[in-house]
């Protein structure tokens, strides 16, 4: 019960964030709500998967793939490029926290006294892990969004 409340909270705020960023990117007004819903969808998939013990990178891949297919569906119906819907919907999945921690981590490395090599090592490793996670998550988002293209449109290259 508590878990569902938590999921609901996360999804709600993801929708707000996606809608806000869609606004920032000057998405046409009639598509704003749809972008917010896309953000909710991606976040829902990811939160549920992470909650059930899936690795966050895999969960993000699944969430952004859901957004990719959602955008594809809307692109057909609304005759707009899929990117209009997918980019802002994927923004809540962007790993801001990991990127931030990586940055702070490297800062701490520079201010760690050289007399404590163990602490230095630990901080360096932690910052490195955060950088890796950030890049993996970004890659997962891009792959997920492109999933419909990668899977189903291998024929007729236009150029």
């Amino acid at each position: 019960m508590d878990l569902w409340l938590l999921v609901l909270r996360e999804v709600f705020w993801a929708a707000v964030a996606a809608g806000g960023f869609a606004f920032l990117f000057n998405v046409p007004r009639r598509a704003l709500l749809v972008c917010a819903l896309g953000g909710a969808l991606g976040s829902l998939v990811r939160t549920l998967l992470v909650g059930s013990g899936t690795n966050i990178v895999v969960a993000t891949l699944a969430g952004s793939a859901a957004i990719g297919f959602y955008g594809q569906f809307l692109a057909r119906r609304w005759r707009m490029p899929a990117a209009v819907f997918t980019i802002s919907s994927a923004i809540p999945l962007v790993p801001g926290i990991f990127a931030f921690q990586a940055m702070i981590g490297f800062l701490q490395v520079t201010t760690t006294a050289p007399t404590s090599p163990l602490l230095l090592q630990a901080r360096l490793v932690e910052a490195g892990v955060n950088v890796l996670t950030t890049s993996l998550l970004l890659g997962a988002i891009a792959t997920g969004i492109a999933a419909p293209a990668l899977l189903f449109r291998r024929d007729r290259p236009v150029v």
Partner: protein, 278 residues
């Protein structure tokens, strides 16, 4: 993105279709000018390389060319249009502007109208300049408030409490104003990012020093999220996936630079306020 499954992709030309009437040099010049214009607009407003190539190709062939060769690189778009025996090439410099989906959608809509034969190149020439001149659809107050709300929403996602929510809202709102004002004065883009991150962090870290809220780190990180080059980085990965390596690497690098600019702004503010992150 993924332009070849865009709903408006024209049906493949049947093998027995009558050949296109070759265009003369004047017409070719017009076609190449128009398609470069559309391509430039798409790159400027955040389309990925594949989509630019395919939209330009579709537009040029719909306007009567037999083939279009397009080179999309980070600062330049080059197009060669061929028709019959004749061909012409042109290069145009592309200066980066921010992400503006509305422009991309409208450029795309125009190219679709042309592809469906609803518009010829003379009409396209009258409609195209209007895209560049349309102001933002949303009014200024909303334009400040909405990204601020989005950042505040992020602070909730990162586990912040309601005090943190309000702090983030204010910090991000002020950051948004600062960013607009600096952009208007045409400062260097990276400098604008650093300055904006600095101002946002001064506010959120100030709240941290005053002991507002139990989760001040969430405010610290969320108030600069409006600067994170998410579109840039996602596009970079997508370009690399689609084999546009040069474009992908360039975009990725500029995304990394923008992130570093954010970090610099945060660090300066933290240092100024002597805030230590646990």
């Amino acid at each position: 993105m993924q332009p070849n499954h865009m709903p408006d992709a024209p049906a493949p030309v049947p093998a027995d279709a009558p050949p296109k009437q070759p265009l003369d040099r004047e017409a070719l010049r017009d076609v190449i000018d128009l398609s470069l214009w559309v391509g430039q607009m798409l790159i400027q407003h955040g389309a990925d390389a594949q989509r630019v190539e395919e939209t330009v190709h579709r537009l040029g062939t719909a306007l009567g060319c037999d083939w279009m060769d397009i080179l999309v690189s980070p600062n330049v778009i080059a197009v060669t249009a061929s028709s019959g025996e004749e061909f012409r090439s042109k290069i145009r410099r592309v200066v980066r502007a921010g992400v503006n989906v509305a422009h991309g959608v409208r450029a795309n809509g125009l190219s679709r109208s042309v592809a469906q034969g609803e518009m010829d190149r003379h009409q396209l020439r009258t409609y195209l300049p209007q895209i560049g001149h349309t102001a933002r659809a949303h009014n200024r107050r909303l334009w400040v408030a909405t990204p601020a709300v989005a950042c505040a929403a992020f602070s909730r996602i990162s586990g912040g409490d309601w005090v943190t929510f309000v702090v983030t809202l204010v910090a991000a709102g002020i950051a948004m104003v600062v960013r607009q004002e600096l952009d208007k004065r045409r400062f260097n883009a990276l400098l604008v990012i650093t300055a904006t991150a600095f101002v946002a962090t001064v506010f959120s870290a100030g709240a941290m020093r005053l002991g507002w809220g139990s989760t001040p780190e969430a405010a610290l990180l969320s108030s600069v999220l409006l600067l994170v080059p998410g579109v840039q980085l996602i596009n970079a990965a997508q370009d690399v996936l689609n084999g546009h390596l040069l474009m992908g690497v360039a975009r990725g690098f500029s995304g990394v630079l923008m992130s570093l600019a954010i970090a610099l702004g945060i660090l300066l503010a933290l240092w100024l306020l002597a805030v230590r992150i646990p």
